[in-house]
């Protein structure tokens, strides 16, 4: 084959569906743009995790409350958010909110609200399990020292519960990080969306999507590493 013919063949290879070597050089100029998406994804995950986690603690405490209506509320909440698709919840918040209250909610805000509400439903179950697994004697010891319920939860029960459920919570936040790719469906320029933008612009798919995949993987590894350190530090009392 003459060099000229080869070049022509490789240029058309995507269209013709022929196999080609990956050439990341083609997306080199777009890499900063895609990496900017990683920041968006991180920002989004951290915000959702913080709000979701706080809400999850409140829900888990409602779930073990002696007051039945509070328990019912938390149980219904969990069942609704676990029982419907996340992408549907996102669409409702993003597309239906403006219709309801006339406020054009930005994609990122819609995403954080949806994901915080959704992940709280899952994490609250994890935390509830963690609280129930703390030895009953701990609660009694705190009570007999005159410690009031909120302080007991904050200083005695929850720290021990978190130590035990940390691996499960890390799972929850990894899921959150990856699920955050769903915000690309409402137009937020996150990591996933930027990969797609580059792909569409250059008409090449393998390179940008695989690059995006690698960045997600690195982010998840970073999170895992951070969690392992945290766990080692929390286990120093064992």
């Amino acid at each position: 084959m003459s060099p000229l013919l080869f070049e022509a063949a490789s240029r058309n290879s995507y269209i013709l569906g022929q196999t080609t070597f990956l050439d990341f050089g083609k997306i080199a100029p777009n890499i900063p743009y895609i990496l900017g998406g990683a920041l968006v994804t991180l920002q989004f995950t951290i915000l959702s995790a913080v709000f979701g986690f706080s809400l999850a603690i409140v829900l888990s405490i409602l779930k073990i409350s002696k007051f039945k209506p509070l328990r019912w509320f938390a149980d219904i909440y969990t069942s609704v958010f676990r029982g419907t698709p996340l992408i549907l919840q996102l669409a409702l918040v993003y597309f239906a909110t403006p219709q309801l209250i006339g406020y054009a909610i930005p994609p990122l805000q819609a995403g954080v609200i949806t994901f915080a509400l959704n992940s709280a439903a899952y994490s609250s179950e994890t935390i509830r399990g963690g609280i129930l697994a703390v030895d009953k004697g701990q609660r009694e010891a705190a009570q007999t020292l005159g410690v009031k319920y909120p302080m007991m939860m904050k200083d005695i029960i929850l720290p021990q519960a978190f130590k035990n459920i940390l691996p499960a919570l890390v799972n929850d936040s990894i899921a959150l990080l990856k699920d955050s790719a769903l915000v690309s469906t409402v137009g937020a320029l996150d990591l996933m969306r930027r990969g797609q933008v580059v792909a569409a612009e250059k008409f090449i798919y393998f390179e940008p999507l695989i690059f995006v995949g690698i960045v997600y993987y690195v982010l998840v590894m970073g999170l895992t590493f951070f969690a392992q350190n945290l766990e080692t530090r929390m286990r120093r009392s064992d």
């Binding site: 701990q138 009694e140 010891a141 705190a142 007999t144 020292l145 005159g146 130590k163 009392s237």
Partner: protein, 240 residues
């Protein structure tokens, strides 16, 4: 003074305590003994409302703790409790175990609480363990820490729920010695125990419980030498 009137506790259909009435005077040390299942622990746990009595009343310093309107956490500050399984806070160091409640409940400064805690740890020969976590302690050491943790709140009453039952035999004495010394300080103590020798030496009064009733209430020398009830005689034959 702790006053108990017609105390009844039922778990479902099972009556664990039946109409118990008694008093524990200030400075008195009482040993509560009896066969397993007689309601000893439940009786003790009703005094500070860890178990809510089904019927009857409990007064501590003339405050009716069984009254739902009473701030029970306030009353409990004055009633320390030591458990069979220690229940130290595993995520806090020994020192933090001792200072937590005085700081968080009584509002003591951290420094004052720590000074007090070190004093107490010295009293039980554990000052060098101040900064270790409970997992590093032996059972006897844990229980001594648990005792001074309760004492850090400076309670007028101390309840002991089988404090030596979970210990290896060679560690029982170190805990009993601490309790003996404590009894001499004039604090009011109620002790559920299987240590008959200890009950005889330290208690001012023995309550013998049998199937939810006080079968015998006597000074230890009387109880151990001439028990009145047949049930107590049987029990003593087996354990002595």
């Amino acid at each position: 003074m702790i006053r108990v009137e017609f105390l009844t506790k039922s778990f479902g259909k099972l009556d664990v305590l039946k109409d118990i009435s008694t008093e524990i005077k200030d400075g008195e040390v009482i040993a509560i003994i009896g066969p397993s299942g007689s309601g000893k622990s439940t009786f003790l746990r009703c005094l500070n409302l860890l178990e809510v009595p089904t019927r009857g009343r409990v007064y501590i310093d003339e405050i009716e703790v069984t009254d739902p309107k009473v701030d029970i956490q306030k009353v409990r500050q004055n009633v320390g409790m030591v458990f069979q399984h220690f229940n130290l806070f595993p995520h806090k160091t020994v020192l933090q175990n001792l200072t937590y409640a005085p700081v968080c409940v009584k509002g003591l400064s951290k420094q004052a609480a720590e000074e007090k805690a070190m004093e107490l740890l010295e009293r039980v020969d554990l000052e060098e363990k101040a900064d270790v976590f409970p997992s590093r302690l032996s059972g006897g050491q844990k229980q001594r820490v648990a005792i001074v943790r309760a004492l850090a709140m400076e309670p007028a009453y101390m309840l002991f729920d089988e404090p030596t039952s979970a210990l290896d035999p060679e560690m029982v004495k170190e805990v009993l010695d601490v309790m003996k010394n404590l009894a001499k300080t004039g604090i009011t103590m109620a002790i559920v125990t299987h240590e008959m020798g200890f009950a005889r030496d330290v208690a001012d009064r023995v309550l013998f419980l049998d199937s939810g009733t006080v079968a015998e209430d006597a000074p230890p020398d009387v109880f151990f030498s001439t028990p009145k009830s047949a049930r107590a005689q049987q029990f003593l034959e087996k354990v002595l």
